[in-house]
């Protein structure tokens, strides 16, 4: 989704109302229940969220950055049209436990970092890991890699994890956002 993304694709940016902000947080928590304890760290209560509308109905939500690192704004999540909210990789790196995770084997890292969808065999081979309980189709998962600590991508399941295990063929995860894509390299 963000393979090519640059400042030119931004149409408008606007501050959102605090009531909308509350709704956004509730929505995010309902999608990822595990983040409930940390939601105030993702979007602090007093902060002003800015909605950045982009090409192809992509909406980015940015907040003030808590740590001093030069740039003071950070995009914490984004949304395509009316789809599920998706956390950005910076958010995932901060709260890795909060999101459902899958793991790919080492051979697949290269392709994932190139933005390719993840094929089922890359998720079922010995180096890869799928959660024991079933995750349904269409859910957002964070993608980890064999031997690595941090997430390298976020994607949407194209089939449920049970199906991935049994069928073991075709696209398993549609990649949405990965290390080194346009959104990752975007800074305010």
């Amino acid at each position: 989704m963000f393979k090519k993304f640059s400042k030119e694709e931004i149409h408008s940016r606007s501050n959102i109302k605090s009531s909308v902000q509350r709704g956004l947080k509730a929505n995010f928590v309902s999608l990822y229940p595990n983040i409930e304890q940390a939601i105030d760290l993702v979007i602090p209560k007093k902060s002003q969220v800015i909605l950045i509308k982009c090409e192809d109905k992509i909406q980015l939500y940015s907040v003030d950055k808590s740590d001093e690192d030069g740039e003071n704004r950070e995009i914490v999540m984004f949304q395509h049209f009316n789809d599920d909210l998706v956390p950005t990789l910076t958010t995932i790196h901060k709260f890795p436990e909060a999101f459902p995770r899958v793991q790919v084997d080492r051979g697949a890292i290269k392709f994932v970092l190139g933005g390719a969808n993840i094929m089922c065999p890359g998720l079922t081979s010995p180096g890869a890991k799928l959660p024991d309980e079933n995750i349904e189709e269409g859910k957002i998962v964070t993608v980890y890699a064999e031997g690595k600590e941090h997430a390298l991508a976020v994607g949407k399941l194209l089939m449920s994890t049970d199906d991935i295990k049994s069928k073991n063929k075709g696209h398993g995860v549609e990649l949405i956002h990965y290390l080194g894509d346009g959104l990752w390299n975007y800074h305010d």
Binding site: K7, Q37, K94, E97, R106, G107, K110, H150, L179, N185
Partner: protein
């Protein structure tokens, strides 16, 4: 409600990825050097021999060799590309043009600012603030963006641009100051007298 502290992740300053993914990036060698300089613990953890053999775990040795060969090739390619781009950048120049508006008034037009890779609008705004004049970004005939500043401020603008260039390590980019209308007028006058 118990608060969960956010995990702080170190990012490589060279390729902006977490250091463990540097090996898949295009600037692995520079990343490695950077990490060694800035965070030796992690460097040892990632690149010590014992660990490297661990990583081979699930793939066969042949596959692994192929993977690393591919990566190396890609890295070399990317590096060459980056070098070329840098050379190209150093070759380009920024032109500051002084355009006569009427006898005593001038506009400054700055072209070739793309090398800075900064938001032109932001630079434009700083100019406007600094000189207390109007300043706009406009497309020129070649379809590239120029900065137009009202007022005769070419020397001051040059200083600021030089500062910006040194900040980005592009000291070698040339800045050219051109006086637009006057030359043309003189030439026109000369041709007329001839």
């Amino acid at each position: 409600m118990a608060e969960v502290a956010p995990k702080s992740v170190l990012y490589c300053k060279i390729c902006s990825w977490p250091p463990e993914y540097c090996e898949f990036g295009s600037s692995f060698k520079r990343c490695q050097a950077w990490l060694q300089e800035n965070n030796e613990d992690l460097y040892n953890q990632l690149y010590s021999n014992a660990n490297l053999s661990n990583q081979l775990s699930s793939l066969s040795i042949e596959k692994e060799a192929k993977l690393s060969a591919d990566l190396e090739k890609k890295q070399a390619k990317e590096e060459a590309k980056a070098e070329k781009e840098l050379a190209k950048k150093l070759m380009s120049k920024i032109t500051i043009k002084r355009i006569e508006r009427n006898k005593r008034k001038h506009i400054i037009s700055i072209s070739g600012m793309e090398v800075l890779e900064m938001d032109l609008k932001k630079i434009c705004k700083t100019f406007a603030n600094k000189f207390a004049t109007g300043s706009t970004v406009q497309k020129n005939a070649e379809g590239k963006n120029d900065i137009l500043i009202q007022g005769d401020v070419s020397d001051e603008a040059k200083e600021i641009i030089e500062k910006l260039l040194t900040e980005q390590g592009l000291k070698d980019v040339k800045i050219e100051q051109v006086d637009d209308k006057k030359i043309k007028k003189k030439q026109a006058a000369q041709t007329q007298t001839k």
